[in-house]
């Protein structure tokens, strides 16, 4: 038995430099891609990324979503969604109404205009993503999907542990 394995129990400072480097690289990739998508959305459609993201959620839910649903899906705070929705209602892209069965709940959905504009943006958006990832082989994509799924699970469990 090595000294190392004996001393682990007393929580010697371990080296996690590799994980730290991995995190920074993950963050760099996301920031880089997010910034590029943001720029293209603004230049091509004069729309912000958060608005596009919110419309993307609603496009997948023809019957609408509650603000809480949206907030959980987008992983942003409730208050954030309130303001975002307000601006999109003002611009005619969203419809907001109080649930008939529970007056606490606001149900939002895309208007006809909102859906039409989103579909146009989404089509181009998909080509941008393809462009950004174009140097990855199908195998790279599959392997990244697998490893990121594992990463997501690991992170979710860590969050869970803290919240306990």
């Amino acid at each position: 038995m090595t000294l190392d394995s004996e001393t682990k129990a007393v929580e010697l400072p371990e080296d996690h430099a590799e994980e730290l480097r991995l995190w920074l690289r993950l963050l760099t990739c996301t920031t880089l891609i997010e910034g590029e998508i943001r720029t293209r959305l603004r230049e091509r459609f004069d729309v912000t990324l958060p608005r596009f993201d919110l419309m993307a959620q609603l496009d997948k839910a023809p019957d609408g979503m509650t603000l809480s649903d949206v907030s959980k899906r987008m992983m942003v705070s409730n208050g954030n969604v309130t303001g975002l929705v307000e601006r999109l209602v003002d611009s005619g892209h969203l419809d907001r109404r109080t649930s008939e069965t529970d007056r606490r709940v606001q149900v939002i959905r895309l208007t006809k205009l909102g859906r039409a504009e989103f579909r146009k943006m989404a089509a181009e958006h998909e080509t941008w993503i393809a462009d950004l990832f174009s140097e990855l082989t199908p195998k790279d994509v599959r392997e990244l999907m697998r490893l990121l799924a594992k990463t997501k699970g690991s992170a979710q469990n860590a969050v869970q542990r803290r919240q306990t």
Copy 2:
């Protein structure tokens, strides 16, 4: 030769659903981890993530950095850095001075207090990262590093192409 390969030249709408799913998963992982780090920094040290990130950059540069350097490294706008630095100077964590050779340039560095506080936070931060990635094997980490490096390169080239 298939119909598909013949028609590619006329830019039929291709399917990039896999890349889109990959992007969303990448974004989810980053958002999840970033949110957890943000929460822990606030609860444990009452500091925001952007401030921590800025101090992390400066910790690696004992001789200080210019605001432009910081802005490029953090991949945020110049104006963003101005405000961030201002608050950290006010709280005594940063020292800012005008370059003696070029009066346009502001050089910032950590104060003794700033460095001491950052080192304490960084030590815990590293254990949080290790915790968040703890279900990944060393091989997973290596493989992710490789694939994310490739992704970064691919994205950088796409940005380059648009800017041309």
